[in-house]
Every structure is written in C-alpha cells, then in structure tokens.
C-alpha cells in the first residue's frame, strides 16, 4: 500500500482537504464524538464519512479509537463481574451495623 513516500501522500492530502466539502484530519477529529453519538446532521455526516472514505489515516485512527473504547468497557465489565462474585463480607457487616442498631430504638 505504501508505494508513495509519506511526505508525498501528506502533501496530496493537504491539497485534497482544501476542496469543497472536504475537511482536514484536525477538523475530522473535532466531529468524532458527535459522529459516534449520531448527533451530526445529514450534511455533516456525509462530509465526515467522505473524509473517512478518502483518508486511510483517519480510518485507522477511528478504528483504534473505537477499539480502545471496547477494550476499556470489556475490562471494566470483567472487573465488575469479579466484584459481584466476591463481595467482601466485612463490608456487608459494616453496612448492616450502621443500620440494624436503629431497630432497637
């Protein structure tokens, strides 16, 4: 895939991103959260997706960005499962101790 030196590819991209309805990678970056939320309007989404189609760097970047979100969620889910499977008994007792003496008021 890397037939052209990256400096040349970069120059081509920087010229291309100045065309109408084109955005730069830096502009693309600003829209990522809104894109993933589904809160871009139709025109914005088309411009975003067009950049995605022509820019391999941003395609890779967005894929990695989403993977990082997935990995984070998976790891924290696994941590939650561990916590649920092994609730500390002394904490249960401590919480109950703050509540149960009031029974005898």
């Amino acid at each position: 895939m890397n037939i052209m030196p990256s400096s040349v590819r970069q120059r081509i991209r920087s010229i291309m991103f100045k065309l109408p309805l084109m955005i730069t990678c830096a502009e693309f970056e600003e829209f990522i959260t809104a894109y993933l939320d589904g809160s871009l309007n139709n025109k914005q989404r088309r411009i975003f997706e067009f950049h995605l189609a022509v820019c391999r760097e941003c395609r890779d970047y967005l894929a990695a960005y989403r993977s990082a979100m997935t990995v984070t969620r998976d790891v924290l889910d696994a941590e939650t499962a561990d916590t649920l499977a092994d609730v500390p008994e002394d904490l249960v007792s401590a919480v109950l101790a703050t509540r149960i003496p009031q029974n005898r008021r």
Partner: protein, 207 residues
C-alpha cells in the same frame, strides 16, 4: 449501565421497600446483599483505591437508608441509588491527591500545519477481529487498568461517567459542575488519550 440487568428490587419498588422502611432485619440484609456488589464496582471505577471505594459504599448506603422513607419511586430505585453512589464517589475523589497521572496534552493526537494526521498507526485498529480471550487475559486486564489510571482524573471521570456508567452529557455536567460543551470535549480527549495509552499494549498482538 454496567449493572446486573434487573434485580427483583426494580419491580414493585414500593412493596419491596416497605420492610426496609420498617427496618426489618432480614429484608435489610437482603437489600444490602443485592446491591453492595454493583455499588462497590461503581465506586472502584471512580475512586480507583479499593479501601476508599469501600468507604464510599458505606457512606452511600447510609445516604440511601436516610432518604429511603422519602423515596417516592419517581425514578427506578436502582437509578436513584446509582446517582447516590456516583456522587459519593466524586466527593471522595475530590479529597484525594492524585498518583501518577500523565498530562493530557502528551496523549492527544498530532496534526501537521496543514491539519493532516501524523500519528503512528496503531495495532488497535485491527483489534475487531481479535478473539476476546486474548484481550482479556489477566495480565492484559491489569495493564489496561493501569493505563486507564494514567488519565488525569478530570478526564478519566468524564469517560467513566459517560462511557461506563452511561450517564447523559447533561447528567455528567450537573454532577461535575462542568458545562455540557466541556463534558463533550473531555470525553473525546479522554478517549483519544486512552487510545494512545492502550496502543502499545497491543503491539505485536497476533491478528
């Protein structure tokens, strides 16, 4: 939300709460056992330190008990309790001095003068095809957790509240005192920083 889908406490809240309000010992214990695990998981995600998380859960329960009689069931019980434990955790976090966080500026993507991305490619972009078991080995989990912990708290918390606790932008803004625009910016920066922090862990991963 990262909570068990539905405990029986979610249905018929009023009836279930009656014995608690009456301070029935067995019902109280059942209630505590049904909720302590997920509340502790939430607290750990936000404050990180295990013993502080336990203090947070204790304080959250005492808050829940104190206001149980006033709880009218206008929101799901679990949603209400979730907010209590999140708020308690945020308060505890504000009192903590922080460990080894890395400045966010070092973790954000870079662009050249023409606005072109100049990041190194990341193996993370190919991760979608990687078997889950590989990702979640115990070592890998610890590494991922350690790297999440390197995010500055003011970014890490927004990421946790939005992406993991699944609170809305407006809710996060209210709980943290940030503007909604700021919540959005911090969420994006936290995710971008995490992408950079996690990428080295997946270099050389067999795909």
């Amino acid at each position: 939300m990262n909570l068990p889908e539905s405990t029986d406490l979610d249905s018929g809240t009023g009836q279930k709460l009656a014995p608690l309000a009456g301070r029935d010992k067995a019902a109280t214990e059942q209630f505590v056992r049904a909720n302590l695990g997920w509340m502790l998981a939430v607290a750990r995600r936000i404050v990180v330190d295990g013993s502080i998380a336990e203090d947070v859960v204790q304080d959250a329960f005492s808050n829940v008990f104190r206001h149980l009689e006033a709880f009218r069931g206008d929101a799901a019980l679990k949603t209400w309790m979730h907010r209590i434990v999140v708020n308690q955790a945020l308060m505890a976090l504000r009192k903590q001095s922080r460990r080894n966080e890395q400045p966010i500026d070092e973790l954000l993507p870079e662009f050249d003068a023409a606005g072109c991305r100049v990041d190194e490619p990341s193996m993370l972009s190919h991760l979608a095809q990687t078997p889950e078991a590989l990702l979640l080995s115990s070592d890998r989990r610890q590494q991922v957790l350690a790297n999440i912990d390197r995010l500055p708290d003011s970014y890490r918390v927004v990421l946790m509240l939005r992406d993991i606790e699944e609170l809305s932008t407006a809710e996060v803004a209210e709980m943290t005192g940030l503007t909604e625009a700021n919540v959005k910016v911090r969420l994006h920066r936290a995710r971008a920083a995490l992408k950079k922090l996690l990428s080295p862990l997946f270099e050389g991963t067999a795909l």
